[in-house]
């Protein structure tokens, strides 16, 4: 601690905002390129491009204001709070570095939805290209960068789309805290996402990358400078996963309000908790693999080059050791959302709370033991194939538990059919198909035919889009009234649900068939016999995109053009986040709430309200 007498009044006088960040990032990029050209190996620009992206990102973050606090502490300047939640309530706080978890949630929401628009446009271009079997609309040289961009962009989005907006906004509200454990880390986990998206998009300037999201070397070592975007962009997402994971864990463990015992924790928080464990442990593996790839590409190490003693199996193992927990990073918060929302609209307690939590942990634990099922035909360790087949199939047991808990909650319920409830039921249908098709892929004999075909592509779109994105929609219709202060139109919501549900199934179910009929992934040219099927899928995909546009319209309309504010608790839900006023006060709770009952105690005679919001006398803390 610096003694007050020595604290200087000097401060950094640069205005901290994203514009400053961009103004610093652009020269930073060129300095990086210049240094890379100076010291890098002569025959490629990869060193310069990677350094450029890293410099640009660091300077962008500095411009946004991330270095103020450490610099001020270092030099003994007066420490300026970046944003005090009591002041700075204007619209401008959404465009600056803010340490308020509610602001970060909204920042995340808008950023991710914009990214989703671009990812979706990528999907439409891919489907348009597949209207013809001969790559005459999009030549292979454009098609492969397109699928690379679509896939990696979507992976960025789906890694963060629930934890980012809803996790950051709601976890403190749900556990009765005033903030996250590490607000600066929380802000960092958001502010690396826009640079990651921009860097990824910048790969277009270099002709993109032709490796898909898996980035298998040696192909990714052959690839041009577009590949460097993949490395740095994905690396930044790894940073986001680690920072958000450690922060969520610390918050949920450490900042729960008095009385918020582990058995009163809302299921959504359990979903975030388990996914954070996976993110914290899996993302460093990805970062290590990306580092090796960067070294291979820049300073000619040969981690992945068999001709020089390396092995491409190293990448495949590291990538999927990250990659398979990664897909559960997508789906665990979605499970949490389903088990969270269904009791409130079934008006029944969650049927088997502890069993549901065990299910989440079962999925999280097993996800570490399955990664080689992506490598059944790769030639790695054939004797281990039965083990990975068994471990993969075992995941259907905890996943089945999630279904059991949800269906048990619906049993003899008084279901209130709201739009979030519709999306929950849609999730159950889609994820059922996604899960069952996963068993087909986990079985080695059938995987020989299905691996790398449209069957696996349809499978993971069923789990990610049909699962995670449907859960996201349920969450959006359910929680946005609290977050934006406006109800989304339920009429448009119903149209949106049915359009999306039908169009989604009509798009992806035929692709199982395409895979069974010998259509490999990632090709612009295919068997002309499948042209009818592909055209059907493309038309359906347009409708699917239109349904998402309908959602965007509903969101924008309700947010900015509806003047009637949402009720504080429009769903008459018991859980804590609905007991605070809308808009949520700057400090969430006047006093630390004391939790006295579970969030799902519907129909229980003499059930108490979930919390005593009057708080403990004299309690402070959390602030």
């Amino acid at each position: 601690m610096v003694s007050p007498a020595r604290v200087s009044e000097r401060r950094l006088s640069i205005p901290n905002n994203p514009i400053t960040g961009i103004l610093l990032a652009i020269p930073g990029y060129f300095v990086g390129v210049w240094l890379g050209t100076l010291f890098g190996l002569a025959d490629d620009q990869n060193t310069g491009v990677i350094l450029g992206y890293v410099f640009a990102t660091v300077l962008f973050l500095a411009g946004v204001g991330f270095l103020n606090y450490p610099l001020e502490r270092l030099f003994g300047w007066r420490v300026t709070p970046i944003s005090d939640p009591d002041e700075n309530r204007g619209i401008g706080r959404f465009f600056r570095l803010s340490l308020d978890h509610k602001v970060i949630g909204i920042q995340y929401l808008v950023t991710i939805l914009v990214m989703l628009l671009f990812g979706g446009i990528g999907a439409m271009l891919i489907r348009t290209s597949l209207l013809v079997p001969d790559a005459s609309i999009t030549p292979a040289g454009n098609y492969l960068p397109l699928i690379g961009l679509h896939s990696v962009m979507m992976i960025f989005i789906t890694s963060a789309v629930i934890v980012g907006p809803f996790g950051n906004y709601l976890v403190p509200l749900m556990i009765g805290a005033r903030r996250m454990a590490f607000p600066r880390l929380e802000a960092l986990s958001f502010w690396v996402v826009p640079p990651a998206a921009v860097i990824l998009a910048a790969s277009i300037l270099w002709g993109g990358f032709q490796t898909g999201w898996t980035g298998y070397p040696p192909l990714s070592e052959q690839a041009g400078q577009g590949m460097d975007s993949y490395i740095v962009g994905f690396g930044l997402i790894a940073v986001a996963l680690v920072t958000s994971g450690v922060n969520m864990l610390a918050t949920i463990i450490g900042l729960r309000a008095p009385g918020m015992t582990w058995t009163r924790l809302p299921m959504f928080v359990w979903g975030i908790f388990t996914t954070s464990i996976l993110g914290l442990l899996a993302a460093p593996v990805l970062a290590a693999a990306l580092m090796m790839l960067a070294l291979d590409r820049t300073v000619n190490t040969s981690f992945f080059l068999a001709s020089n003693g390396g092995s491409n199996y190293l990448w495949e193992n590291l990538f999927w050791f990250f990659g398979h927990p990664e897909v559960y990073i997508f789906i665990l918060p979605a499970f949490g959302i389903i088990m969270e929302i269904v009791p409130h609209f079934a008006r029944k307690p969650l049927w088997g709370y502890r069993t549901g939590v065990v299910g989440l942990f079962g999925v999280a634990l097993l996800s570490w033991f399955v990664w080689q099922h992506h490598l059944f035909v790769s030639g790695i360790a054939p004797v281990l194939r039965p083990f990975y087949m068994l471990s993969t199939e075992l995941i259907s047991i905890p996943t089945g538990i999630i279904f059991l808990v949800t269906l048990g909650t619906l049993w003899r319920a008084r279901v209130w059919f709201t739009v979030p409830m519709l999306f929950c039921l849609g999730f159950l249908f889609n994820f059922l198909i996604g899960g069952i098709s996963g068993v087909y892929l986990s079985d080695v004999p059938t995987d020989v035919t299905l691996h790398g075909s449209y069957f696996s592509m349809a499978h993971f779109h069923y789990t990610i889009m049909g699962g995670e994105i449907f859960a996201l929609m349920a969450a959006a219709y359910y929680w946005l009234p609290k977050m934006t202060g406006k109800m989304l139109s339920p009429t448009i919501g119903r149209i949106h649900f049915w359009a999306m549900f039908i169009a989604f199934n009509s798009t992806f179910f035929p692709l199982f068939l395409a895979g069974l009929l010998n259509m490999p992934r990632r090709v612009a040219t295919y068997d002309p016999a499948l042209v009818g099927l592909n055209r059907w899928v493309t038309i359906s995909a347009y409708f699917l995109f239109a349904s998402m546009v309908l959602f965007a319209g509903n969101l924008i309309y309700s947010w900015f053009f509806v003047s009637k504010p949402a009720l504080a608790n429009p769903w008459h839900a018991r859980s804590l986040e609905w007991q605070v006023p809308t808009p949520v006060p700057a400090r969430n709770f006047d006093r630390v709430p004391v939790i006295v009952a579970g969030p799902y105690d519907y129909g229980i005679p003499n059930a108490r309200p979930v919390a005593d919001l009057g708080g403990m006398v004299g309690a402070t803390g959390g602030g």
């Binding site: 292979a140 790695i380 199939e393 279901v415 039921l425 068993v439 990632r522």
Partner: protein, 291 residues
């Protein structure tokens, strides 16, 4: 915990669901058993895969129907009918039902795993278990499953951007541009790559094997029907990945194969000196970067 007991209020629902489920599942199972599953029956391995697909689909059908029925049934019968909000019965869980659910799913899963492992270790699909995954160096092509009278033919599949070639070490290392296999004769495929990862996919034969540089990836196949098959790459390998297709693979009878291979050997003689001798894998270009 107590004995397993069905509550009075549950009975009509359970009865209705059970009857509809049994009827729909029976129809569904009979239906999916009629389908002719890919990759059909050109090879013994392909036929095994097709029958596994059929088994999986037959098992998945009742599960799928059960869950969808529960969802739809809840949406119809457990919908709130009153205008104002009412709470449902406060059921907190039912241990016997939960145990039963987990037990049934565990039995299904373990059954599938046992069937899968049995298929893997059966003699037909010896490509997967018990076969050496890769033999590095020496060019030895071991497999414990060959009989004296039915000796396996060895074929090396060499992938490169963007086509496959095939070498027959049993026939002097002759290299061809199309894959010909004799019918009813076990074949040991040695898949390798000259540059990056490819994947050798002979759809009709039910074979998919990644081609890794510096690795000899061994798969087995026994064609049982003559006819053509398609070979294509199924691992993204760059610009012309989609064009890495050859539809002129042929399963032929033994005499046609002998004629064909003799012709190939004759053609090969003229270029044999330019082609490296047979090896488990090759590094044509030193992929040393920047040297």
């Amino acid at each position: 915990m107590g004995a397993f007991r069905i509550e009075e209020a549950d009975r009509p629902h359970i009865l209705r669901l059970l009857i509809v489920w049994v009827i729909l599942s029976a129809i569904g199972i009979v239906g999916v058993l009629q389908i002719n599953y890919p990759p059909y029956d050109q090879s013994i391995q392909g036929q095994d895969q097709a029958s596994t697909l059929k088994l999986l689909t037959a098992l998945a059908t009742p599960v799928f129907i059960a869950v969808v029925m529960m969802v739809v049934y809840s949406a119809i019968y457990f919908r709130r009918t009153t205008k104002e909000l009412v709470d449902g019965p406060p059921m907190l869980g039912n241990t016997p039902v939960q145990i039963a659910w987990v037990a049934i799913s565990a039995i299904l899963v373990l059954f599938l795993a046992v069937v899968g492992i049995a298929t893997l270790s059966s003699e037909n699909v010896a490509q997967l278990v018990g076969a050496p995954g890769r033999t590095i160096g020496g060019g030895q092509t071991g497999s414990g499953t060959t009989g004296e009278e039915n000796k396996e033919i060895h074929v090396q599949v060499i992938a490169q951007q963007w086509y496959f070639t095939y070498r027959y070490p049993d026939y002097g290392g002759v290299e061809t541009t199309h894959l010909y296999l004799p019918v009813n004769h076990p074949v040991e495929l040695h898949v390798t790559s000259l540059d990056i990862i490819h994947s050798f996919w002979a759809y009709q034969l039910g074979v998919k094997a990644d081609a890794n540089p510096g690795v000899d990836n061994i798969f087995h196949v026994t064609p049982q029907k003559t006819g053509s098959f398609q070979v294509r790459c199924s691992e993204l390998c760059g610009l012309w990945h989609g064009h890495m297709v050859d539809s002129e693979g042929q399963v032929v009878n033994q005499s046609d194969f002998d004629t064909w291979i003799a012709q190939q050997q004759k053609d090969f003689e003229t270029i044999a000196s330019a082609v490296p001798s047979y090896a488990p894998y090759y590094f044509p270009l030193p992929l040393v970067k920047g040297s």
